[in-house]
Amino acid sequence: MIEARGVSKLYGRGVYALQDLTLRIDKGEFVFLTGPSGAGKSTLLRLLLRQDVPSEGEMIVGGRNLAALTGRQVQSYRRSLGFVFQDFKLLQAKTVLENVAFVPRVLGLAVAQQQRRTFQVLKWVGLQHRMNAYPRELSGGEQQRIAIARALVNDPVIILADEPTGNLDPDLSLEIMNLLREVNARGTTVLIATHDRELIRRVGRRSLTLDHGRIVEVS
């Protein structure tokens, strides 16, 4: 499903965020990406979202080389992804409901379908009672759960999550992980970047440890 072949990402002045990275994640897998701050986790996820292309090597997802996609193909590729951003990227001017419904809406889904999915994911993350609040009226953890709900709303084929439990307490973190495991059980590939080694231990799935842009441990 996801394959990196000798991928390097070089930012100006010789800073390698990723260096000759090769990895393979199969369809339906649930994989953690871990490593110290600045290891390159977010960079790898950014390449997978096709926000950026590798300086060297190839990122292959679903058999397609991401660097070779046209603008329109990038759009349809992204529609098959669910992404949880490290900084949430919630819209301050929209309510929780509108934030989540925004995605099916701008993808042109039918209204009935928009609503059904939106209510469903809000219930999953346990925030249907706050759906008319604005993001700034939510605690950090609540905002994080909205971000997760938004990534799930579009029934993605792959879920990429950058530090989805950074603002959650251990119990809630585990709850969210169980939710993602559920989604994963229905066939969705899940890739999660996190620092929380305790969480990885508790969930007990495959994990890749990055450091200085290289994979230093697989477990």
């Binding site: 992204r78 301050q92 925004f102 995605v103 701008v106 993808l107």
Partner: protein, 296 residues
């Protein structure tokens, strides 16, 4: 259809959320279009005025007191044949005196005291408006007439007409420049305002890009927002112009018409309203496109 609904609700929602900025914007656009429209009205009226005055330009042939009826007849024919005249009025000495009394009512007493009528009879020629080469033809006629028997003097409002034409040309040039600059300013304003809207929505736009929304969904609301603001600005301008026109017509309509010799000033023709509205929306569209283009 779904896309259109989305565009409209998004654009309207965005305008409503940023209603303070939007009203400021609409007012700005409105002010610009108001000045534009106002200027167009003034220009139209000045042109009409010039045309009218041109029409009423006179060519007066003063007759000697000892002129004969045949001489008057032949002079009259001469004028008619020249083709520059729209009308020829014969004014007798008595009519001239009467006209003087009307023109200078305060001096009626003086006129009464006159022992004899000092005013000459005349042929008053109203020039045909817009006759081609009318000026030269009138000049030629003036020369011929001046030498004809029975004619005391020929008066032709030549200097004034030249000046009037100069003013009209001047105003027209000035008008083109002003209108052009104002349209530019209005377009820039709209672009600015839509830019502000786009800026306010840049998080939204970023997310739309990241979830793979079609480009049209990203750009549509921006362009529509521009169009809506431009249209709203135009409506404000039209309303203001209408109000001003009504006010001016009520207050000064009579006085102005009298002084300037126009029966009816044009205030706010429907076509102008239409032009302003379409123009405002077009400007808004251009501004919106300018911003939307920046969104890859």
């Amino acid at each position: 259809m779904r896309a259109l609904t989305y565009f409209v609700t998004e654009a309207a929602g965005s305008l409503w959320r940023g209603r303070r900025a939007a009203s400021l914007a609409i007012l700005t656009i409105g002010a610009g279009l108001f000045v534009l429209g106002f200027f167009l009205i003034v220009n139209t009226n000045l042109q009409r005025l010039a045309a009218r005055w041109g029409e009423t330009a006179e060519f007066a042939i003063y007759l000697r007191d000892d002129v004969s009826a045949e001489q008057v007849e032949s002079l009259s024919r001469l004028v008619h044949d020249s083709g520059v005249a729209a009308r020829v009025d014969q004014v007798s000495k008595d009519q001239a005196l009467e006209r003087f009394r009307q023109d200078f009512p305060d001096l009626g007493a003086t006129a009464e005291r006159l022992n004899r009528n000092p005013f000459p009879a005349s042929l008053d020629v109203r020039l045909r408006p817009g006759a081609s080469r009318a000026e030269e033809a009138a000049e030629a006629l003036a020369g011929t007439l001046a030498g004809s028997p029975g004619v005391a003097d020929v008066r032709y409002d030549r200097r004034w007409l030249a000046r009037l034409n100069g003013v009209v040309r001047f105003v027209r040039t000035v008008g083109l420049i002003i209108v052009g600059m104002l349209a530019l300013a209005a377009a820039l304003t709209v672009a600015n305002v839509v830019r502000l809207a786009a800026h306010a929505r840049r998080d939204e736009i970023e997310i739309m890009q990241l979830v793979g929304a079609p480009l049209t969904y990203i750009r549509g609301p921006l362009v529509l927002e521009g169009v809506m603001q431009g249209g709203a600005g135009a409506v404000v301008a039209i309303a203001a112009l209408g109000a001003l026109s009504a006010l001016l017509r009520a207050r000064y309509g009579g006085a102005i018409s009298q002084v300037l010799g126009m029966e009816s000033l044009t205030f706010l023709p429907v076509e102008l309203s239409g032009i302003l509205l379409l123009g405002g929306m077009l400007l808004g569209c251009i501004g919106g496109l300018m911003v939307a283009r920046g969104v890859r």
